[in-house]
């Protein structure tokens, strides 16, 4: 079997999923494809099963929050074909009211940890995940700290004088 190029991969994705491919760009040596989140599972299943490509390694996955976009939340997935040494990245945007993605655990077991992490930090839920609870932060945390509406600083501390340390509360308000 000859080694496919990344162009061939993109070509066959477009052929199969057509309208659900919302964009394509090249970020350095990474091909990034923006997709409709409804086809995420089928797309990964297709790339995993297809003997021509064999994307059988989920390198990483994470949540994204870009508050200025019309669809501010996203999930990012990177797949790797170990056999052909091909890499591809998917992004799938959504809104605050629709923070649910299909879980990729039936395809990649590695998604279990990453999806819990995305839930912990961004509040993105995954349909079909067996244990959708926090993984890294303290259990009793009541918000999702990597969302941009929350300041990075620990809001419970009282020992720092803002006038001396230059913490700009107005800057936080601007974000919200």
């Amino acid at each position: 079997m000859s080694t496919p190029t990344i162009e061939q991969v993109v070509e066959s994705i477009k052929e199969k999923f057509g309208d659900h491919i919302l964009g394509q760009e090249q970020q350095y040596d990474f091909t990034v494809i923006t997709i409709d989140k409804n086809i995420l599972f089928d797309l990964c299943r297709f790339l995993y099963d297809d003997e021509r490509f064999q994307f059988r390694y989920l390198t990483t996955a994470c949540g994204i929050h870009l508050p200025d976009l019309p669809k501010p939340f996203a999930m990012m997935y990177q797949l790797h074909s170990l056999v052909f040494n091909l890499r591809i990245r998917f992004k799938s945007y959504t809104t605050l009211n629709d923070l649910q993605f299909d879980s990729l655990i039936p395809i990649f077991s590695a998604a279990n940890w990453m999806e819990r992490e995305a839930f912990d930090f961004y509040g993105i839920r995954f349909k079909g995940h067996p244990k959708m609870v926090r993984i890294l932060n303290v259990e009793d945390m009541d918000y999702h700290p990597m969302r941009k509406e929350y300041p990075l600083e620990d809001l419970t501390r009282t020992d720092k004088d803002d006038t001396m340390f230059g913490r700009d509360q107005a800057g936080f308000k601007k974000l919200n």
Binding site: N137, V138, P145, Y150, L152, E153, D154, T156, R157
Partner: protein
Amino acid sequence: MKDIISSPKIEVVKAPEGFEGPGFFATSLDKVVGLARKNSIWPLPFATSCCGIEFMATMASTYDLARFGSERLSFSPRQADLLMVMGTIAKKMGPVLRQVYEQMAEPRWVLSVGACASSGGIFDSYSVLQGIDHIIPVDVYVPGCPPRPEQILDGVMNIQKLIQNESLRRRNSPEYKQLLASYGIE
């Protein structure tokens, strides 16, 4: 043995103040116990990040914490006298640290090494405990990011001063019980 002790290179702990005569020496129990405790501290290293690396240097031959009677590290809190907290303590680590402290037998001391353990340091963040004194009482703070081994030694020597001068009744005093109660420890 006598030659070693009288060698100018070797310093041996001096006897406390007291009355000395032929065949006897009298002093107060406080001073003897303080002297013994001070020079036989068993530290428990609770090292979570770069300050822990400095602690390794402190234990190694150049700086050699063993010179102060602390060569025996205790990796069980039950036999430890001194809890040395070195490094960033995440909020999720807080209950673990507190449990370690609770497992230590009295009398116990705590040395907070470095900016992170003392105040959260540069990690003014949602996930980091802003100083271990939010969950356990601390006796001596060592500043620095990370502190040099000399500073850690200085912190241990300050702990030694506290130990030497501590009243034998302190751990039973209402003030001490109140201190522990303010942390919810009993």
